[in-house]
């Protein structure tokens, strides 16, 4: 494949370039810093241009490394796309780090660029944690908080204790040879190696899509266990400094007490900063351009303040992000919200890349490597075993209290997903060489553990997850009827869950919600925002915005926005979306699917084609091809268009994209359809659906209120010349179906029928304004389908209307 050889060439070129660059830089980096005075004393003539390397050295190196990291990420992703996606990105970055480290070492014979703990903890880690917490699915997080805390606190303590003690036991038994080490140091080592690392967890789990509860358990644990890790580390560090004999009961109690202070203090500090941040964003109406900066500044402040007070910094920034999300997102201008989201992703991505890269580079350093087979292997072994035991033990205890028990398969994945990462390395590198002579051994072991978990466990995680779920039917074999029914079951289940109200956690959530509504929102949110918090209206507003954007982008693709005026369905060029290879081979499908839309997730046709037709070639008998094509058509249609159930709106945490609710148009359609059916049932069955009606009016009113400056006149044009205020219901000879989607007409008529008291007071009500209700997108494509599907319905409405109206008005 020429594509990949091209990539390989590109990669090689990059590598050589970087090698030269680094050689040059590192040679100069060793130059002693000359005095600031530029001009040398023995100057012979006027220098026109001088090479001022030392002048820019530090920032230049920083920027170059950031650049190198970005290039590395680029090549890794390209590699993943085209060659293999077996190794997770983080693993590949480490390998690239090895290569780069080798180059630097080759140039310098010493590792000049290492991952320093201060750099890591102050400049690289905070943004990752802030990103994770800002995008944390709060509802899921808090509903599983109990389990998360149990794993984080007791699980980490268990891991630390058992690993430390077992290693000590093995040392005493002589398995490690001669080391200058004691029990306390083993415990210290145990505590730093037992922390599950959030960076690694995100990096690996992002590519493996497990169910949301499992993900939040592992991820939440990795975030919250920092409180424990910091405490254990500091406590044992202090104990090592104090020495064995001076440790008595008071010291131990102080240790336990310090845990409480550190953990809760850190969280409390985070909440304080979240409140400050929300208040700030509440007042920034006039300087919206710098609003976005506040989020980062306050988040970082939370982190540093906690560090300063020796509290848990990660907990602080976590709770800051978690608590401020909601208020900040509603207070800030939409553009600021977008800015914050994108900027955070950029920063977090960049930091993560650099961390893994440097983890690789740091390895290529002869100074730090001390190999002790027993120590290293035993660490790996114990870490693994005790993780499994710990997870199963705590889950068994938890399942007695949980409403939704955690399954065995999930437990297996959880224990396998206890990944260690850069935090462990950072802590190891911070050890004091004086107090802990075996520091290098610990660093080496930590590095090996990190590589093992990130690379090897990362590679095998996906196959493991897939293998464990072997009972699920293979996707390609599903017949149409199964697909339809599967989706129907999902909807049924979602509905019944809603009816049941998710019994059990209701009391707390309802109580909290009420408290929050009354007090917190009043303080922290802008007054205007509070009024508009109506749930359905917000969705509607968002959907209309998205519509507008899609409309414009489609218009641009079509050449101009004039396409909307044509009566034909918008023909979308299919070839652009899929590989042109298939366009050649399957011309029939292309023709049929021309009604397809922008805005749909890119379900690749290859997934369906490959499964149903193994090898397509032009020699296939025409008949077979036609049948196959129909089949593919139907499957593809279902795949694209079945409404997604709530289960499918997964809270996927991902570093690289935000698709939280990509199918919002579905929500909109469902919403409109249910509104329509409610109106129908109101008319025909006379069931007391009054509240529903009020809701309808309320939304549409708010909407027109908002949109009234926008479109009504323009819309009129498109839909033909309807008279201004006349009630269309009383114009039975209207040719309306051909000019506007029938359901628009329908809703208008209904609105005109019996506005409630409240409705009448609000707005002068004209049918024109209502027209903006349905999004333009739906009206532009496949208008034919509407006509056919709904024209019978509309005709019935027309007939029913006059009688209904006479009674009610």
């Amino acid at each position: 494949m020429s594509n990949s050889t091209y990539l390989c060439l590109r990669a090689v070129f990059l590598v050589c370039f970087i090698h030269l660059l680094i050689q040059g830089l590192s040679a100069d980096a060793n130059v002693v810093q000359s005095p600031r005075n530029r001009l040398e004393p023995n100057l012979t003539g006027l220098p026109i241009v001088t090479f001022e390397w030392h002048h820019v050295q530090t920032p230049y190196l920083v920027i170059i490394w950031i650049f190198v990291a970005a290039l590395a990420k680029l090549s890794v992703i390209e590699l993943n796309h085209h060659v293999t996606s077996v190794i997770p990105e983080s693993g590949m970055l480490i390998i690239v780090g090895f290569i780069l480290g080798g180059m630097v070492w080759g140039a310098d014979k010493a590792q000049t660029f290492k991952l320093l703990p201060t750099t890591f903890f102050f400049y690289l880690l905070p943004q990752i944690i802030l990103d994770a917490s800002y995008f944390m699915p709060n509802k899921l997080f808090f509903s599983n908080l109990g389990a998360i805390l149990i794993y984080a606190i007791f699980g980490t303590c268990w891991n630390a204790a058992t690993v430390g003690l077992s290693l000590w036991g093995c040392y005493e038994a002589g398995a490690m040879g001669n080391l200058d080490i004691g029990l306390l140091q083993f415990l210290l080592f145990g505590s730093l190696i037992s922390a599950v690392d959030p960076v690694a967890v995100i990096a690996v789990f992002e590519e493996v899509h497990v169910n949301e509860v499992l993900f939040i358990l592992v991820f939440g644990e990795s975030l919250l266990n920092d409180g424990v890790t910091v405490v254990l580390y500091n406590v044992f560090d202090a104990f090592v400094a104090l020495g064995g004999p001076r440790i008595d009961a008071t010291e131990i109690f102080k240790g336990i007490f310090s845990f409480v202070v550190v953990a809760f203090g850190g969280s409390f500090l985070g909440v304080v900063f979240a409140i400050l941040l929300s208040l700030l964003t509440r007042c920034t109406k006039h300087i919206q351009i710098i609003e976005a900066g506040f989020v980062f500044v306050m988040g970082y402040l939370a982190y540093l303040t906690a560090e300063m007070l020796s509290l848990s910094a990660i907990l602080s920034i976590t709770f800051c992000g978690v608590c401020c999300q909601k208020y900040v997102n509603s207070n800030m201008d939409e553009k600021s919200v977008t800015t914050v989201r994108h900027a955070m992703k950029v920063l977090a991505n960049g930091s993560e890349t650099m961390i893994f890269l440097f983890l690789g580079i740091t390895a290529i350093d002869t100074e730090i490597w001390v190999w002790n087979t027993g120590f290293i292997l035993l660490t790996l072994l114990f870490m693994f075993i005790y993780r499994i035991i710990g997870v199963f033990l705590f889950t068994w205890m938890l399942n007695k209290f949980r409403l939704v028990p955690i399954e065995v398969i999930d437990q297996v994945v959880m224990s396998y997903g206890g990944l260690r990462g850069a935090v462990a390395y950072g802590l190891a590198a911070m050890l004091d060489k004086e107090k802990i002579p075996e520091k290098n051994l610990m660093i080496s072991t930590t590095l090996i553990v990190v590589y093992f978990t990130v690379i090897i466990q990362g590679i095998t995680m996906k196959p493991l997850v897939q293998w464990l779920k072997v009972k699920r039917a293979a996707h390609s074999d599903l017949k149409l009827v199964e697909k339809v029914n599967n989706r129907a079951f999902d909807h049924i289940l979602a509905a019944v869950e809603d009816i049941c109200g998710r019994i059990g956690d209701n009391w707390w959530t309802r109580g909290w919600n009420r408290f929050e509504e009354k007090y917190i929102c009043r303080i922290l949110m802008k007054p205007k925002v509070r009024k508009n918090k109506d749930y359905l209206f917000n969705i509607f507003h968002k959907l209309n915005l998205e519509d507008a954007m899609n409309y414009v982008s489609e218009g641009e693709r079509q050449g101009s926005l004039a396409f909307i005026r044509s009566d034909e369905a918008a023909n979308i060029d299919f070839k652009k979306q899929y590989d042109s290879e298939f366009a050649d081979v399957m011309p029939d499908i292309m023709g049929d699917m021309s009604n397809y839309e922008f805005g749909i997730e890119n379900v690749s046709i290859t997934s369906i084609v490959k499964d149903t037709i193994p090898s397509i070639s032009r020699d296939i008998h025409g008949q077979d091809r036609k049948n196959a094509v129909d089949d593919i058509n139907a499957h593809h249609l279902l795949q694209q268009h079945l409404y997604r159930s709530r289960k499918h709106h997964r809270h996927k945490y991902s570093r690289s994209h935000f698709g939280i609710n990509q199918s919002e148009y579905e929500v909109q359609e469902i919403f409109q359809r249910t509104m329509r059916s409610r109106l129908e049932s109101f008319k025909s069955a006379k069931m007391g659906v009054n509240p529903a009606k009020k809701i309808t009016k309320h939304h549409k009113k708010d909407l027109t209120h908002q949109m009234s400056n926008g479109h009504p006149e323009g819309k009129d044009h498109l839909y033909g010349d309807e008279a201004g205020i006349e009630n269309p219901a009383f114009m039975p000879d209207m040719e309306s179906p051909t000019h506007s989607p029938p359901w628009l007409m329908e809703t208008e008529m209904d609105m005109a029928v019996a506005p409630s008291q409240r409705a009448q007071r609000r707005l002068p009500w004209t049918p024109n304004r209502m027209r903006r209700l349905a999004p333009m997108r739906i009206s532009t494509c496949s208008t034919d389908s509407f006509l056919m599907a709904d024209v019978s319905l509309t005709l019935e409405e027309h007939e029913e209307q006059p009688q209904g109206d006479n009674e009610e008005m």
Binding site: N485, R487, I503, L536, N595, A634, H641, Y643, T674, D784
Partner: protein, 194 residues
Amino acid sequence: MGSTSSTLLKIPNVEELVQETGFSPAHIIRLYDRFKVLDKEGRGHLCPKDFGAIKELAMNPIRDRIISAFFSPGKETVDFYTFVKIMAHFRPVDKDRPKDPNSPEPINSRSNKLKFAFQLYDQDKDGKISRDELLKVLRDMLGMQVTEEQLESIADRTIQEADLDRDDAISFEEFRKSLEKVNIDHKMSIRFLR
């Protein structure tokens, strides 16, 4: 939380419910609390309006069918007993239940779950899903962009796959057979109702 026994006493026919549905008394109490929350006017039974007030339900495309499944044909209210019995369909299957051929099948058995789903499709209750009924269901569940012809071709194809006796309708047996590979126990169970 109060004393559970007093709440238990308030609920009529508790032992019968426990016996028939297999719910534990704790679950019945929770369902009762939920029932009372839904029944805003405190009349002791629910009507479709109460279901309609559930906000999240508005986003569900087959909402109306499910709501009407709660109401027996002709009745416009559902009392707590029926509510619980219908919820019992969604209880996870008891895997280690002794297979007693004489006792009636529990409400949450696989085939009863399937029957519940079948009734959602079969609105006219003739024991078969006709092509029109299938079309209606598909129309509910598919987006607006799907044209009529496409819809009909999907419906035809679906019937073709499932219909074994070629009567252009899907009977319950054919329905069950077509779904034998699907893990109904998992798909139609709410875990917290165990």
